[in-house]
């Protein structure tokens, strides 16, 4: 079976989600690999969301928001810039390849750019193969004879 990357896209409501809509209404063809989650602002993207996506089996994560200066909430995407810069370092420390995670700016008018971004991350992740984060932690736990994981 050929590997089809599963990518979680977390998109801001005002620019990127609308941009993805435009790609659809413009009938642009692009890779079907991104599962979209809509949030009100890319500044809402807690790094927890990204780790959770990887922990639950995503092969890649794409965060998209308004271009800097265009945020519907004036400053939201500046917070995104700051968080993502450090999150990338944390993901590297976890041994997750940098190509698996991206922050992109896609405006409401950039349907073609949305399609291009999705195609590009899909190809990057396809080259890397499955992320195996979930499988790897599960297998080391199995090796340790773990019972099912129950958290507090």
């Amino acid at each position: 079976m050929t590997f089809e990357p599963k990518i979680v896209g977390i998109l801001c409501n005002w620019c990127s989600y609308t941009g993805a809509d435009l790609a659809g209404t413009s009938r642009i063809k692009y890779a079907p690999n991104v599962r979209v989650v809509r949030v009100m602002c890319s500044g809402r993207v807690d790094p927890t969301f990204v780790l959770k996506a990887f922990a639950d089996g995503a092969d890649g994560v794409l965060v998209a928001g308004c271009h800097p200066g265009d945020c519907h909430y004036i400053e939201g995407n500046y917070k995104t810039i700051r968080r993502i810069a450090l999150l990338k370092k944390m993901l590297a420390d976890y041994g997750i390849e940098p190509q698996r995670f991206r922050l992109e700016w896609v405006s409401a008018g950039e349907g073609d750019r949305w399609a291009q971004v999705v195609n590009s991350i899909t190809e990057d992740v396809r080259k890397l193969g499955p992320a195996k984060i979930r499988e790897f932690s599960a297998s080391t736990l199995r090796a340790a004879g773990a019972r099912s994981h129950k958290t507090a």
Binding site: A85, D93, R147, K150
Partner: protein, 318 residues
Amino acid sequence: MAKLKLASYWAAACGGCDVAILDVHEKILDIAAAADIVFWPIATDFKYSDVEAMPDADIDVTLFHGAIRNSENEHLARLLRAKSKILVAFGSCAHIGGIPGLANLFSREDILKRVYLETPSTVNPEKITPDPRTAVPEGEITIPVFHDAVRPLNQVVEVDYYVPGCPPTPAQIWNVVQAIVSGQLPEKGSVVGASEKTQCDECTRKKQEKKISGFKRIATVQPDPDTCFLEQGFLCMGPVTRGGCDTRCQLSGVGCRGCYGPPPGVLDQGAKALSAITSVIESKEEADVQRIVDQIPDVLRSFNRFAIPASLITRKVL
């Protein structure tokens, strides 16, 4: 009233939790008056075979410290679970993995190689590494199997209560003991002996508006003793760490490192720390933000010092 039967055990631990129990000082006599110690390796001479001989659920309360690092730790976790009515994950290692959990950023093989073959103080020309079974002229001797990853107690057995801290403070331990003796324990699964709020709530340092224009390290800059560490640009995990320790580290002149674990509702302490601390960086330019975050060495171990095995991603992908 019959006396309580109390046990205390260390798995992959440093013994600091046991010493913290002894640090209740003369109140230890009150504990001895209310409870019989039936197993406590640091202080009494009961053997594993004594525990195995007990009927199931014979011990009223077991305080279990230490992470699950090897097969002996796991065996004792399962054994003490079966023999205890109440099993308490006591201290950071049993609660969230603790310092031994940092080993989850390395492979089992790399750890063994470093420890037994490479350290400058090691003389091992025959390159002997630990074998679970060793044949000797008299028969076979065994040691535990070193696992691939470190786990907190609740990933191995069901845990009734959690007492956080590295180590838990004696005052909090006393609160927990009183709750046990009086039978006034909260709902099963609760964190006891800690606050429901964060460190910042009890920190006495002066706090104003948080804006970080650069990160500093205590190795190179002396922090002001009265001002919030974060406002000075020093890393402090206070905003994402459960309170209850009376901010011991902050009062000692260093930022909180997170040993009390995440406050209620936080899924991943490291990710939340990253979220809270980076959002107040004072810059809007990508290149400038990059320059500022590059001042933080060793991101994952700085932001998630104690809780990696209990986080969303429990170990480095190797």
